[in-house]
Structures are given as C-alpha cells and as structure tokens.
C-alpha cells in the first residue's frame, strides 16, 4: 500500500483519501473496511460483510423444535453454546417449561466454559498482537513465549469444561430442550476443578497484564444494552436493560429493536427504533452488571484501574479478562456446590406456541424467536446475533476515531482502524444472515 505524501496533500485545498482493507484478519468470518475522507473529515464508513449468507431462518422452517439447538449451533463454531442456549431457552419459553437448579447451574457452567475459551482466544490470539505490534500470536510467541503459552492453557481450561460437559469443544452434543442428554456425578468433575483453580490465577494475571497495555484515548457516549439479573452476572436469564432507561422482557425485543438490510453488508444492521445505534458485549455487560460480578472479579477490575463504568472500547480487552476471571470463579462456585440432578432433563411436550429468549453470548445478547405448530414443527424463526447489533456502533467509532489519527501513515492508520474493529471481537460468521476494510484518501 503506498504511503500518502502528507505535504502534497496539504498543498491542495480539497483532499480526499481512502482507507481500504479488503479482507480483515483476526476476526471470525469474511469482511472488509472502506473509509472515505475529504478534507480530513470522514465522509463514508462501510463495514463490508461479504461472508456468504447461509439462510438459517429459511431452512429452520419445517424442522422439529428439538432440532433447533443443534442446527443453530452451526451458525458459529466459536460460540455454539450461545446458540444452543438461546434455542433451548426460547423453546422452553414457548412450551411452558422451567428448568431449575442443578440443571440450570450446569447450563451456567457450560456457558462459563465458552466465555473462557472464546474470550481467551480473542485476548491472546486475536487482539493482543495489535497492542504489541505483531501480525499474530505465533510471531508474538517468539518474544513473549510464556504469555502466549499461558493464554493457550487458559483457553484450554475453558474448552475442557465444554468438551467434558458438552462432549466436544465445537458443536457440543449434550444440550437438549429441557436439560441435557447425560449428567455427571460430582466426582466426575474433579479433574476440572484442579484445571479451573490454575485458570482462575492465570485469568487474574491476564487482567493485570492487559491493564498495562497502551490504550488510545477514545471515550464515547454509548447506549449499552445487556441482560440484567439482580442476583447474578447474566448468562441465560434476565431483563434486557440499557443505560438510557430500556428495561424490557425478551418477548418485547422486536417492539424496540429493528433490523435493516443495507447494500454493503450480508448481515442485517440492528438498531433501537427510538435512538439508533447501541453497544452489546463484554463492555455493555460490565457497565450494566458491575455489582453482580464476584468479589474477586470486582476487586481485580478496580485494581486494574477500571472504574465501575468504562467507555473506551480499546479497554474491552481488560474487561474480557475480568469476565474470564469471573467465569473461572463462577465455574468453581457451581462445581463446589454441585449435586447430581435426579434426571438429566425435564420432559417437554409440543404445542402450538411462540417462544422468545435472549442469552449472553461471549460477544453480547443473542436473540431467538420461534413460532411452533401443535406438532412442535417450526413455522418461523428469527435470530439476531450480537455482531449484527454492533455493526452501526463499529462504523460510528471509526467515523470518530479516524479524524483523531489522520496524521498517521496509511499503513499505521489502517492497522489502527482494524484494531478499532477488533475491539468488538466481531464474529462475521454469526452476523451473516456479517467484514472487508477499504480506507479511501485521494
């Protein structure tokens, strides 16, 4: 990429430039970026999503209600547990089934495993190389071997939970409407406890390490949206709340949020009908649920220099580390108080019904809505993944971020823009039902 001649540009009264990234790296799925500037002002930002669409909502029609969790898991190989959780909770909501402890606790445990695995993948393998100036974690490992090894081992601890309780790390097989296919005795979980005690220490060290990374000054006024539950940090249950007064049940989601189809994206853009762009994911959860974190996670956050509120998306790497610490702590809590359930699942009978659920995927709220006939066949399905909800906010961030860093070379500015996108840990595979980067400056 040619480095633009800054002095030559300043000689013109009208300058135009473009920042382009054809294929964004270290994100899940296929997308790019296009930014067009005129007189150092950003005139156009497009987060382009060319990941081919796969039409999940289309082929869910006619399938049995019991199949939705395994089918929708295939939307994303990074967060299949999230899809399984939203699907089974939506079905249980439709069919009037309530799954209580200890099955409810086991679902939290499974989600802890996915958060640890997914967050650690992003912290160490996808995001940290930006802060330290490496193209990837493998190059980073040449200078920071122990750090990368710690990350891999921490990631493995999350995967151990998912593969033991779920059967395998990717597309686990043990989740069903009403509970699980198979449940385990307390003794079976013992090897996990040792791994998690190590992981909790490693997660605490991860919080301390990420807190020392260099952060650009970039505070924005966002509307954060997340689940909120009075007694626990949210996974599967809670009301959808925001810092601007939104407080609704999952069944009211479509009354407040709208998806629109824009030409440059195979992922639908989501916005709040009344106020527009909003922000989901770890930073939104943290801002809306600080008091629900475990004492250890709260203390680590404050010690790392975070306040109860954080509005710098670059610091999401610290918040992901705090959440990873929380997930290790919470998984240990679940395991220590665990008693084997009497039966692996609550029986479920089909009926004509409509069901809704929102759960907290690693990247933010994941909404599922199903309509079933009296045989339990799916008539309609609607799925809104976290990344499609963040698309507008990512574009807004870039619009404000680029003018601050316009003095950088094309190569540096492009990399900074990529990093700004990776703040959101976008999952394009999820959103396409969703990324490529062009920054244009002539």
């Amino acid at each position: 990429m040619p480095t633009p001649n800054r002095s030559a540009e300043k000689a013109n009264c009208m300058t135009k430039k473009t920042i382009k990234v054809d294929y964004l790296a270290r994100v899940e799925g296929e997308g790019g970026l296009y930014i067009k500037m005129k007189d150092d002002a950003v005139v156009d930002v497009k987060l382009k999503i060319f990941e081919p669409p796969r039409f999940f909502e289309g082929f869910l029609r006619g399938r049995d209600f019991k199949e939705a969790s395994d089918i929708t898991a295939r939307i994303c190989g990074i967060c299949p547990v999230a899809y399984q959780m939203s699907a089974v909770h939506a079905m249980e909501n439709a069919l009037g089934v309530k799954v209580d402890a200890p099955l409810r606790e086991l679902r939290r445990l499974l989600y802890c495993g996915e958060w640890i695995e997914s967050h650690t993948l992003h912290i160490y393998l996808l995001h940290a190389p930006d802060f330290l100036g490496y193209p990837d974690a493998i190059q980073m490992a040449k200078d920071h071997k122990e750090i990368v090894e710690r990350g891999l081992k921490l990631k493995k601890a999350g995967n151990q939970i998912v593969s033991f309780l779920g059967g395998r790390e990717i597309h686990p097989v043990n989740v069903r409407v009403g509970g699980f296919y198979k449940v385990f005795s307390k003794r079976d979980f013992e090897p996990l406890i040792e791994a998690l005690k190590w992981a909790r220490d490693a997660a605490l060290n991860t919080v301390r390490w990420t807190a020392k990374l260099p952060f650009p000054k970039f505070e924005q006024d966002y509307e954060f949206v997340a689940l909120h539950h009075p007694e626990e940090y949210p996974f599967n249950e809670g009301r959808i709340v925001s810092n601007r007064g939104l407080d609704i049940d999952c069944s009211e989601y479509e009354e407040h949020f709208q998806e629109t189809h824009v030409e440059h994206s195979n992922a639908l853009h989501s916005h709040l009908k009344e106020r527009g762009a909003y922000f989901v994911g770890p930073m939104a959860r943290y801002n809306l649920n600080f008091d629900q974190l475990s004492p250890m996670a709260r203390e680590a956050a404050l010690e790392a220099g975070l306040q109860k509120e954080c509005r710098n998306p670059f610091k999401s790497i610290i918040i992901r580390s705090v959440e990873t610490l929380y997930a290790c702590d919470e998984a240990l809590r679940v395991l220590e108080s665990y008693e084997k359930p009497e039966r692996p699942y609550v029986p479920v009978e089909p009926r004509e019904a409509t069901g809704f659920a929102c759960t907290e995927a690693p990247r933010g709220i994941l909404y599922h809505h199903y309509r079933l006939d009296n045989q339990g066949k799916i008539l309609d399905a609607k799925i809104v993944p976290p990344t499609s909800q963040n698309q507008k906010t990512i574009e807004d961030d870039l619009r404000k971020f680029v003018p601050q860093y316009i003095h950088l070379s094309q190569e540096e500015l492009t990399w900074q823009c990529e990093q700004a996108i990776r703040n959101y840990d976008p999952c394009i595979s999820c959103a396409t039902h969703f990324l490529k980067l062009d920054i244009e400056r002539t």
Partner: protein
C-alpha cells in the same frame, strides 16, 4: 518439499461457521509445536500477515455458494501442491445445502428484506464438485487430532491414517451399549463415517450423522429400522437431511422418502 525451508500451509474459508479452522487454534497443546514445523503462510482468522503462494498444503473450509467463490476456488487449487477439504461444508455442502432441496429465492426473501442485494448460487456444493481434492476430512466439526494427522501426513509425503469404517464400529470398540437396540433411540451410527469416537451414544443419544456417510452404506436398511422404531417418512427425511444432507447416499435416501410424502 525441500529440506531447507518449512512447508507453507494456507487456510481458506468459504461458506461455513469457522469451526473447522478454529480446530487448529483449539490445538492448545500442539499449536506452537506445529508452527515450528510449518510456515502458516495464509490464515486470516489468526494472522494479518500473508505470504504469497504457491503453497505446499491448502486446507479449505466451507462450501461453494456464490459465483465469486466458484471462481476463487480454482485460483486456490492452482497455487496449491496439495489441497485438503475440511469439514461437512467443504466435503458435502454443509447444513446450508438444505437450500438444494428447495428454491433458494424463497430462502433469500425469508431472511433479507431487499433480496436484490444478495448474490447467491442455487446450490451449496462441496469443494470436490469444482476442483480436484487430494483428501477429504470429514466432520461437523472435524476432529482436531485427525486434522493434525492430515497435516503431518501431507508434509511428510504419506497417506493420512484416517479410518473409513462406521461410527457403529467405534461404539463397539469403546464398549458403549447400543442406544438403538437397548434403548430404542434413533441412531445414524450404522451409516455414518467414523471420526468422532462415537460421541453421541456415549452421551446417551443417537448419532446424528455429522461425519457424513461412511464408504459403503446401507441407508435403506437403516430406514427400515427407523420405521420399526416409529419414525414416519417425514422424520426419516429430516434424519438424513442434517449437516451432510447433500452427500450422495444421504441425499438419495431422503429424496426417496420425500417422494413417499407427496
């Protein structure tokens, strides 16, 4: 591959969930060791550095669903000495091949408000329908240890040691009691390719065929058994129309029962 430089490995993505390429990053214990033996030359999910081809080994994830991708796969083949397709999308068209049984335009309009923006092919097809593939690694998702075996085999110039028998045999080897015979659960194990270690029966459920059809299948006999367990035609169609719906033996069997439905 010459002895001086490390073999260059590339990872490519088409329509998929990213899960199969994630399997490589899920090799937490082996990743750094593997990266000492090979040069990861193109792997956008993990690195922004791109080394130009040609590549010694290309791993291809995902199915072909757009006119642009149908072109792109030929370029990748031309720059690859060996090419291995990984996962159910790349080897059978994936779950998105369910569109192949219907009019795709109907699906486009269900999901997208402005269908004109969407550029898609009528069918989702496996990589081998478009180019010559040197090996197909099955699974939805693939097994990560099998992936390491395949990479190791190709960079060392030998045949991958990947058994082609059925999941049923894996179950017997593990000593798992048959869930179909003993518990009357519907199970795809008798016709499904090995590789997962017979996971589902170990978790008290029937196999749902995520590794696709084994080498020679008797799908007809399985359908008869499913009927005895109470499945109707509609259910049999759904059983075969999963993550490997467009793999020939499964496609044929589902179409047979779909006709009986009408």
């Amino acid at each position: 591959m010459d002895g001086k430089s490390k073999p260059k490995v590339a990872v490519w993505k088409f329509a998929s969930c990213d899960g199969c390429q994630l399997s490589l990053l899920d090799c937490e214990d082996q990743l750094l060791a593997v990266s000492r033996e090979i040069e990861i030359a193109h792997f956008p999910e993990a690195s922004r550095a791109v080394v130009k081809g040609p590549y010694d080994l290309s791993l291809v994830e995902g199915s072909i669903t757009t006119p642009h991708d149908a072109e792109r796969i030929h370029k990748i083949r031309r720059s690859s000495k060996f090419l291995v397709s990984i996962g159910a999308c790349a080897t059978a068209g994936g779950i998105q091949a369910l569109r192949n049984f219907k009019d795709v335009n109907e699906f486009v309009s269900i999901v997208y408000a402005t269908p004109d923006y969407i550029d898609t092919l009528q069918k989702s097809t496996p990589i081998a329908d478009h180019i010559k593939v040197d090996f197909e690694l099955r699974g939805c998702p693939i097994d990560k240890m099998q992936l390491i075996e395949v990479i190791s085999a190709f960079i060392n110039g030998r045949k991958p040691n990947i058994p082609a028998h059925s999941t049923c045999i894996e179950c017997k080897r593990r000593g798992t009691v048959c869930v179909m015979v003993a518990q009357g659960k519907m199970c795809m194990g008798p016709v499904t390719h090995a590789g997962c270690g017979a996971l589902c029966p170990t978790y008290d459920r029937g196999c749902y065929g995520c590794f696709g059809p084994q080498e020679t299948t008797n799908t007809d006999s399985l359908s008869s058994q499913l009927k005895k367990l109470g499945a109707d035609n509609d259910e049999i169609v759904r059983v075969f129309r999963g993550f490997n719906a467009y793999a020939e033996p499964f496609r044929r069997e589902s179409e047979l029962h779909d006709k009986k439905n009408h």
